[in-house]
Symmetry: C2
Subunit: 317 residues, 2 copies
């Protein structure tokens, strides 16, 4: 198949590009290199099945031109500002990077008769669900972060486009994702803080946040699996491991893997959330994807441990 | 209270302005007169508690200026492209008029410390629910019109703003709304068609679409009621009468009230939907709003009959 991956030089996108190329697909990657990096795809640049465009999908004219020339069978749309935590208030950042980018991709698909979209959605669309198991059909949807709001807005538009223009859609609601090439997230943040100072480190929140973590390689395998197996016109799945892991346990793993046990003083900043808009805990029901035939091999704990090792290798420690 | 009504010269907005002024509130109306009309608010222009700005809320600079000068206690945000049915494909129309307008209002509220928003949401956020009773917490949300998608995107952002900036929000999901000053909808459309030619008329769909209809005066009373009674930080309600009415029955009422019984040949265009994106039937569970103390006085049939009389009076027949 001839596939466009938007955000294909990013953390998750580049792993997806690897997998799709390994599976024999022709892959075009569009990435503005805002969060994406050339080093994530450099090893693929000579592959005759791979094409890279440095492109901002918010530039509709250029995006449409790539579609016009591309003749794609399907689009994996991963472009997003994956930084849920914002340093300063900009309520329009995710709106542009996550939602208007999605509208542009859908519009280019419509004009160029591309009929299949796989979309990187998120548990953040649900907001605070406490200890309820989140099924695919759980309501109400009350995102508390602008990231979650922009992903829900994107889902809403994919739904309307799918109905109006007979697109086939696969929406996959990611859990927390970890692994090599990460550009953000707790493991990335703490590793870099500890590289600067391993005597003491401050962890956001009170350590009791408790969520599922999936390794990026399992995530991209699952995306391709769902895309190939789910045959409905509108397919939407929660994705993750059965288990969750607490922040305090992640810290224990991190200390052990980095050889800092007993050396680093851990300070919790306190508060139920890591930051405003942080959902402190959630649990997915995975019946639907289990029934389709997919199950995570690694637990949240195993995924975290493997990821710490990969990041340590990648960035040095 | 000092209240801003966006879209206050429109069909629903102008009835709301009347009610709020009658209740003794100070009301500022912002409307670009795209669908709104001066004749809807002219009778209020000399009221010292009323102020009108011809303003497009998509113009953030001007909107922010109105907020800066206004010192509002609350915003009733009704600006929208209320034409769910689109004549030609423009997937960005509702995105701009319904969603980006909402983002602008929220952003102006944030910058000017206005903490209360009442939002005109819609049953269209739910999409196709067949004969299931729709509660406020029904999922999944799969809008099939761009109107519904833009309203869901708006709800998503109101949710995120509410959490991040401690706004209090009242989201009210309107059913079909009918009554005087309407600028669209089946009664308005057919009345105008029949004024041009009362020998024959074509009705979209197969006549079996079956939905709840609420009279606009009851709607605005309910909005104000919900705003005053619901005390949560985030309040969301389905709104409507218990009953639904089929299109074929609406046609019978219309013929009778216009004195055309036996004269006009009715042709149904056919198809389960009136147009692409039309939800053919839905039913609301009204337990939540009933518990708050509100109940529609008119059935769907009574609301339609009254509205035909009002429109006949307004436009002549």
């Amino acid at each position: 198949m001839n596939i466009l991956v938007t955000g294909g030089a990013g953390f998750i996108g580049s792993h997806l590009v690897d997998l799709l190329l390994d599976n024999g697909h022709k892959v075009t990657c569009a990435d503005n290199l805002y969060l994406g990096r050339m080093k994530n795809i450099r090893h693929r640049l000579k592959d005759k099945n791979f094409k890279f465009y440095k492109l901002d999908v918010l530039d509709f004219k250029k995006l449409n031109e790539v579609f016009r020339k591309g003749g794609f069978d399907a689009v994996f749309h991963l472009v997003a500002n994956s930084q849920i935590k914002q340093k300063k208030v900009d309520t329009k950042l995710d709106l542009r990077l996550n939602f208007l980018s999605t509208h542009n991709v859908l519009e280019a698909m419509r004009l160029n008769h591309v009929k299949a979209i796989v979309f990187a959605s998120s548990s953040a669309i649900f907001g605070e669900t406490d200890n309820r198991l989140i099924t695919e059909d759980t309501g109400p949807l009350r995102p508390i972060s602008f990231y979650g709001a922009s992903k829900l807005a994107s889902e809403a538009y994919i739904s309307a486009f799918a109905h109006n223009f007979r697109l086939q859609a696969w929406l996959i609601r990611f859990p927390n994702v970890v692994g090599g090439r990460a550009t953000h997230g707790i493991l990335y943040d703490l590793l870099h803080k500890l590289k600067r100072n391993d005597r003491a480190v401050t962890v956001l929140g009170n350590g009791r946040q408790d969520k599922p973590y999936l390794h990026v390689k399992e995530l991209v395998e699952a995306m391709v699996f769902v895309w190939q197996k789910a045959k409905g016109s509108y397919n939407y799945f929660n994705l993750g491991p059965d288990s969750t892991i607490k922040i305090s346990k992640i810290i224990v793993i991190l200390m052990k893997e980095l050889g800092l046990k007993g050396r680093t003083r851990i300070k919790y900043a306190g508060g139920e959330r890591g930051w405003t808009g942080d959902v402190p805990r959630y649990r997915y029901s995975l019946k639907k994807i289990r029934k389709l035939g997919w199950k995570a091999r690694l637990s949240s704990e195993q995924a975290v441990r493997l990821s710490v090792r990969e990041l340590k290798e990648e960035y040095g420690f």
